[in-house]
């Protein structure tokens, strides 16, 4: 193992992260594009947090009424290392799955005489370095609170060691997932065929979801709470080992603290060796050529064309849907809403249901999945064209056609997810009446349509076409504007529902309720649709992309 190579790999990946938004050659020299910025952030975060921790500790000593805050902080300290595992995981998975093929630097690394363990350590080093401000915050805060404030130096040191170990463990788990998903890719690529592409997509999504759930701290506690399991009793969950170690340390049970601390160290080391072995075994050095079908090319008129879509619109819809299942960087866009849907389903399943809790206003929350699907797919629909956007510009496609196609492809997926969600809601939470169910269904359809159109309208105005290791497809401003308008749009459409629900739903004439919902919903959707067309036309006008 060569330390120089490990540092070099770590440096390359850190630079590629920092320069992902490089706009001009001069920008490379900016402080924000250099690793020094991370060290500076580390330093200032540490100083600030030491100060903050010390002030909080002093405040807790003076004000007796604040004891409950002190207890909360103690509990928080216990769970810091466990929480830290999920951070590199979330970061790493998002980074891995959002890498465009052309920025996939591991292909370059594969050509070089680098061992698997050097690669894993280098890559993990970069992940840890990029996330080091979090360590600085933990280190600073605990230095002020536990170290300087209370003089518990051994606890402080243990917390710090376990935190660094947790970050490393998370980084190694990311490497394992990378290797497994790569295995999924290469195994199915070599088989080829349309069904293989779908299976690969589904498998990647499942791996992504399972990893996010397994190492999601909140989810774990949701389960533990649902089954009334104490943290100390959950000794079989490796994620909780550092927390159990800290807990025992506070209880002055040093032997158990050491055992769980060492167990966690063993877990991290085994993660490292597993990731090295998997990389050695499953890394495909070259992209495999993928044969989708062996059929002859025989085009025919599709259903969409028969129902009135123009050929150009159908072509765009088909392209976008194919891209969604075939492009690695699109998986996270599918997974994000899916994750919230899965959490929702599990919440529904683990929460004891009673007859007093039928389908009602509160359940609007469960529509988050489909709404997010529509909004996310819509808002990224233009940016995901990336460097291929000039193809759209050079084709005779107008703003209206483009808008219609983008809305339709996003809505198609969102509506499928809505149907699944509604079926599930109606099975688990029966509606109080058929009319209410109809009303709820209509409302959810309108909300999903509106969320999608808002997404497309904002996406056309703030697209991010840059192809970087972590393309967002939408600018930061765009995301914020999108969230704002999503909130406004959904609120306006939900108004009839909210008003009539609060003034005793059953007593109101259903025709009035339905009528107002349809009128308001259609008006808002139409208005947003017109805005989307206007923005798309503006986008096609400002064509300076090449």
């Amino acid at each position: 193992m060569n330390l120089r190579i490990i540092v070099a790999i770590g440096r390359i990946y850190t630079l590629s992260f920092l320069r992902r938004r490089q706009s001009s050659p001069q920008a490379i020299n900016r402080l924000t594009r250099r690793p020094l910025i991370i060290i500076l952030v580390d330093f200032f975060a540490f100083i600030l947090c030491v100060f903050l921790g010390y002030i909080i500790d002093n405040a807790l000593l003076i004000e007796e009424e604040l004891t409950f805050i002190g207890e909360m902080i103690d509990e928080m300290l216990i769970f810091i290392p466990a929480l830290l595992i999920s951070i590199p995981l979330a970061y790493g998975i998002l980074f891995e799955f959002s890498q465009a093929a052309k920025t996939f630097t591991t292909e370059t690394v594969n050509m070089l005489p680098i061992r698997a363990n050097e690669y894993v350590l280098g890559s993990s080093l970069s992940t840890i370095f990029i996330l080091s401000p979090i360590i600085s915050i933990v280190l600073g805060f605990t230095s002020g609170l536990v170290g300087i404030g209370r003089g518990l130096y051994f606890l402080w040191f243990s917390l710090l060691t376990l935190s660094i170990l947790a970050l490393s463990g998370g980084a190694f788990i990311v490497e394992i997932i990378r290797a497994i998903t790569n295995r999924v890719s290469s195994a199915f690529y070599s088989r080829g065929g349309r069904s293989s592409v779908y299976i690969r997509f589904v498998l990647s999504v499942i791996i992504f979801l399972v990893a996010m759930l397994l190492f999601n701290f909140n989810f774990l506690f949701l389960l533990l709470e649902a089954y009334s399991v104490e943290i100390i009793s959950a000794w079989y969950v490796p994620l909780l080992w550092p927390s159990i170690a800290i807990l025992n340390l506070i209880a002055r049970n040093l032997l158990l603290a050491w055992i769980f601390g060492l167990l966690f160290l063993g877990f991290c080391v085994s993660c490292f060796f597993t990731s090295v072995k998997l990389r050695e075994k499953y890394w495909a050095p070259q992209p495999v050529s993928i044969k989708i079908s062996s059929k002859l090319y025989r085009p025919r008129k599709g259903i969409l064309q028969r129902i009135g879509y123009a050929p150009a619109e159908v072509a765009l819809i088909r392209k976008d849907l194919r891209g969604l299942v075939r492009r690695k960087e699109m998986i996270r866009i599918v997974v994000a809403p899916l994750f919230s849907t899965v959490i929702m389903i599990i919440t529904l399943l683990v929460t004891p249901q009673t007859e007093e809790m039928p389908l009602g206003l509160f359940n609007l929350f469960f529509l988050m999945g489909p709404i997010l699907f529509g909004w996310l797919l819509g808002i990224t629909s233009f940016g995901q064209e990336g460097e291929s956007m000039p193809i759209i510009y050079s084709l005779p496609i107008g703003g209206k056609e483009l808008t219609k196609a983008k809305i339709s492809s996003s809505l198609f997926i969102a509506l499928i997810s809505l149907i699944a969600t509604l079926c599930l809601i109606y099975i688990i939470l029966p509606a109080s009446s058929f009319d209410f169910m109809l009303f709820f269904t209509l409302l959810s359809v309108l909300l999903t349509i509106e969320a999608t159109i808002i997404g497309v309208a904002v996406g056309a105005n703030y697209p991010d076409f840059t192809t970087t290791p972590r393309s967002r497809f939408i600018t930061v401003t765009g995301s914020m504007v999108g969230i704002f308008f999503l909130g406004i749009g959904l609120l306006i459409i939900s108004l009839p529902f909210l008003i009539f629900y609060t003034i005793e739903f059953e007593a109101v004439n259903y025709l009035v309720v339905f009528g107002s919902l349809i009128l308001i919903g259609l008006f808002v959707c139409y208005f947003t649709y017109k805005m989307a067309i206007k923005n798309t036309k503006k986008l096609l006008d400002r064509v300076q992309v090449m």
Binding site: A101, P287, V288, S289, I290, K291, I292, S293, S294, K295, Y297, R298, P299, R300, K301, A310, P311, A312, V314, A315, L316, R318, K319, R322, G323, R326, R327, G386, E387, S388, P390, I391, Y393, S394, L395, P396, I397, G398, L540, R542, V543, Q544, V545, M546
Partner: protein, 258 residues
Amino acid sequence: MEANTIKALELRSVSKNYGSIAALQGIDLDIEEGTIEGLLGPNGSGKSTLMKTIMGLVKPDTGDIHVLGKSIIEHPIETKRQIGYVPEDIRLYEFLTAVEYLDFIADAYQLDVETKNKRINEYLDAFGLKGRHNELISGYSGGMKQKIAIISSLLHKPRILIFDEALTGLDPISARIVKDLLHKLAKEGVTILFSTHVLAIAEVMCDHITLMHSGKIIARGQLKELQEQAKLSESSLEDIFLKLTGTNNLKAIVDALK
């Protein structure tokens, strides 16, 4: 009578600046229908910018461009329908197969099912891609991607073809097919504007040659006219190019590299 006066391409005082860099400076250019116009010039002379401007991909700061009598600003969709374009840096949808990509392009140009079926199969066959048409483009070599880009520019039978370094990366057979095809299309009335750094190709293929340098047209005409402008009778296009672009003392440059 009036129809005959319509030019395939008309550019009037077209200028484009990127900050302090003048990419195009007052370009005036008329190209007749059915001609093959070669666009030559050193790297960074403005050839690609000019082509993108004609395509409407880059907005000129000043000036006017008409494609077959129609302004590209006022009628962007109609003018795009008349043009087939192969950019210098090809960016295809790599997650599509060749056939899916070409099908997408054909639909964008609103070709009917029979026509696109016939043309796509014909072109795939001609360019030797038939056996690999169902593979993802991401697995293709640079030359194969180039072929797909060329086919996509030809599918809708455009009246104007703009090829920016389109022959680069093609194997000799495909390059020959493209060259012969361009001659055939020009005879049928298709106007072709293409840039290349291979001066021998330009010499053989082009009816007219436009020489660009620092965003300006420095010479234009048939080979004989260029020889006269450069005062190099019987000289090759390479000599004319070097003289007109001011690259005279090559020997000194090479010697300095030793």
